[in-house]
Symmetry: C3
């Protein structure tokens, strides 16, 4: 009886929506904090910190929506989160010391992995639903997840970390997005495909950090 209720609840739209939204927010906050860390290293002012933080948090999804011609953007529909970002930036400037930066980077690893997985899958779903081909959907999923960070680094006059650190990040998102599409295709169960791909991306990403995996580099000089 209880299990039955629980099962119904877990499969209910309310639960799924709330869970999705909670993970989305965790991911967005992790991306925002990553933006603050990069901006802090460059000693930007409050305008720079806020803009870089906003780019980092919302840039990927906004770029996807511009490419797909979708409106409203996340930060327009859920504009109260702009206040959160702004408060976060002011708090960071008041309380974040250099010794905290490494700590912050460490503590956002898990929410960042959740964000990576969530934005990859939702980006893939949204692009596929707009009638795009498979590879385009996968690439848009990956871009949704990584282009916030790419725009953050470009605005801070750095080569994007996602393009140059030889760590599996976008590569895991790419694989996870294909796994999502494969399961969705064979099982016709979007929920199952999402959960499974989500777990694969998060697990691989955590393993990649723990065991310091690198991706193959140029074959030679």
């Amino acid at each position: 009886m209880f299990t039955n209720h629980l099962t119904n609840f877990i499969y209910s739209d309310t639960f799924a929506n709330n869970l999705t939204f909670a993970i989305e927010i965790m991911g967005t906050l992790a991306f925002a904090l990553a933006g603050i860390v990069v901006a802090a290293r460059k000693r930007l002012d409050i305008v720079g910190v806020s803009m870089v933080c906003g780019l980092s948090a919302f840039g990927g999804g906004t770029l996807r929506d511009i490419l797909l011609d979708r409106r409203p953007f996340f930060w327009v529909e859920h504009h109260q989160w702009l206040w959160v970002i702004l408060a976060l930036c002011i708090a960071a400037m008041l309380f974040l010391r250099k010794k905290h930066i490494e700590l912050t980077e460490k503590s956002i690893q898990i929410p960042d992995a959740l964000g990576l997985a969530m934005f990859t899958i939702s980006g893939t779903q949204i692009t596929l639903a707009s009638g795009s081909p498979l590879l385009v959907s996968v690439l848009m999923g990956v871009m949704t997840a990584i282009f916030g960070g790419v725009l953050r680094d470009i605005a801070c006059n750095e080569i994007p970390q996602a393009f140059s650190d030889h760590r599996p990040y976008a590569v895991i998102a790419f694989a996870g997005s294909w796994i999502y599409l494969a399961i969705e295709h064979f099982s016709n169960n979007d929920w199952l495909a999402s959960i499974f791909a989500f777990l694969v991306i998060v697990t691989l990403r955590m393993l990649a950090i723990k065991f310091d995996w690198t991706i193959p580099s140029w074959a030679s000089k």
Copy 2:
């Protein structure tokens, strides 16, 4: 009688439109010249100077219009101004010497402040009219005013000045945009709100330059 005529004229749409357009052009030219100054420091060629000048002059409004899905852009509707920009760039390459650069920077401070005020307010108005929430309208107003310069600096491989110089520029635009919204809300008089916010932004900006104001930096190392 004469005062009556003058009052009618000042409140007439023609006068308001002409004044608005004149200030818009002054601001655009100031932004264009700021672009030429940055491009000159980097010794770009005529292509780079023109593109950076164009980005600086029209980048903020174009980004706003892309985000809001508005067409046509200013530089498409008023395409004759592209010729002016082009002529300005060629003239700069022929006649601008290094010793003129500082002079140019100084002489564009006032039109630049007019542009800051004008584009902040018009950006806020346009975004609000598209049905966006208040904070989104304020941020879009600020972005309209500063993102020309941000794109200019990114194209010149510099950290955007608006993000890093610790001077009140975007911060004044931010405050001015809220002042506009507050007066508009309480008086229901768009004309009054625009004029007042405009004067506040221009005055604060001129004071900031005169007294060399800075905005608070990171609390500590």
Copy 3:
């Protein structure tokens, strides 16, 4: 009789379309290889190489389509070419050695000139057909041809080569685009105008490389 057939064939839509598409692909591949060369110099990882390569190949046309609000993008409509780009990037990382880079740059000069001509003209045509004024159409033609490279260089944290190398590249595209418009206006023959402007751009570009032409720089210090 045979000549008649040949003439019919050359003037047929099938032939024109196939030829156009073949040149477009050659140009795209040249731009893609130019992206790989820049990414290789920066030792980016496979994610960076693919993204910079993609930006270089499709960035100009995508920016044009965003500005004109056109969909679908080339890389969505012809998504199989994304696989080619991806395979090219993987092959480059496996087989491209430093000593090959200069060779690659040399061997893409001709297809790059074809791409420059093709994208300038098609960009001009598309913008004009959307009802834009002449100068806007010319500038959009130039931007279609050069902004892939501009975005490539920005993503690699370099001042865009097209803005700073004092070589006639965008300038030739600019001239060629006006030549296209002039012939189209006077002859009312789009096919003739395209062919002629195409040949002018390619010829001038090859001459510019051969004789190491430069464009005028700043008049003085």
